[in-house]
């Protein structure tokens, strides 16, 4: 699956990956990141503040897009990474939530590839302006 960084060119489409996750992953991420906001774990609490159900941490969605960057490029040398959290990712109990991430190379200059990322959940775009720059 890993692309050869020496082969990247502007306009190149990177393969889509399904980075599915569950409620258990939200708990693991909360423990690893220190973000214990109950809207990411406690269904009753989430519904009490007007959410449809437990939602994923925006930073978890972004972290999975970061995992995509590392999986397609094999690189751990990320220079820039940014995203907007434009739609909540709802995580019902007992469901593998599918997060389809894909990318497109928008620039290759002086050994740096810029990649636009697309993260889709239930056919809705959940990250806006998701961009990474990787040293190649």
């Amino acid at each position: 699956m890993t692309i050869k960084l020496s082969d990247v060119s502007i306009g190149m489409e990177l393969p889509a990956l399904d980075l599915a996750f569950t409620r258990a992953d939200l708990v693991a991420y909360a423990n690893a990141s220190g973000d214990q906001n109950p809207i990411h774990q406690d269904e009753a609490f989430a519904k009490s503040v007007g959410l449809p159900d437990v939602i994923a941490h925006g930073m978890l969605t972004m972290a999975l897009a970061g995992k995509y960057l590392s999986e397609v490029s094999g690189s751990q040398n990320v220079l820039e990474f940014s995203a907007k959290f434009i739609k909540p990712v709802v995580v019902p109990a007992g469901v593998d939530v599918s997060l389809i991430v894909s990318g497109k190379v928008t620039d290759v200059t002086d050994g740096v590839a810029k990649i636009d990322l697309l993260a889709m959940c239930n056919e809705v775009k959940v990250l806006g302006m998701a961009k990474g720059a990787i040293k190649i």
Partner: protein, 138 residues
């Protein structure tokens, strides 16, 4: 009501040092199912790992009474990182958080916090977190 605009430009004192261990990195990448060998052996941290220290430093700012921020109405809306180098095991990270911008957006307010992450005296990552504080319901 609303945030105190006099706080724009305010720099908070550095956070307490956070020692990066292979256990911290492993727990983070395991939660993501990330199998990149550089992360799996716990030597290099993945790109969003700095949020562990930047969010903690911002939490101090969020709860600063002088900022007048209603934490119960806060939503994280944007995140950006610029890396000078990856975070590695053994780094002792401190964060200097500052209030870069506060501005209204309709009945909401938007604030941008800049977080410079240092290992010792070396700047390793700068983060920018944009938050929305939702205004009162109409």
């Amino acid at each position: 009501m609303g945030m105190n605009h006099d706080m724009i430009g305010h720099v908070y004192p550095p956070s307490m040092p956070y020692l990066v261990t292979s256990e911290n990195i492993s727990a983070f990448v395991k939660a993501l199912g990330d199998t990149n060998p550089a992360y799996a052996d716990g030597t290099v941290a993945p790109p969003t790992f700095p949020i562990v220290v930047t969010m903690n430093a911002m939490d101090t700012a969020f709860h600063d009474p002088a900022l007048q921020l209603d934490y119960s109405r806060l939503v994280h809306s944007d995140q950006k990182f610029e890396y000078l180098r990856p975070i590695r095991v053994g780094d002792e990270l401190t964060v200097a958080a500052s209030v870069e911008e506060i501005k209204p957006l309709g009945t909401n307010e938007i604030a941008t916090f800049k977080t410079d992450v240092f290992s010792g005296d070396e700047l390793v990552v700068t983060g920018w977190s944009k938050i929305v504080v939702r205004g009162p319901e109409a």
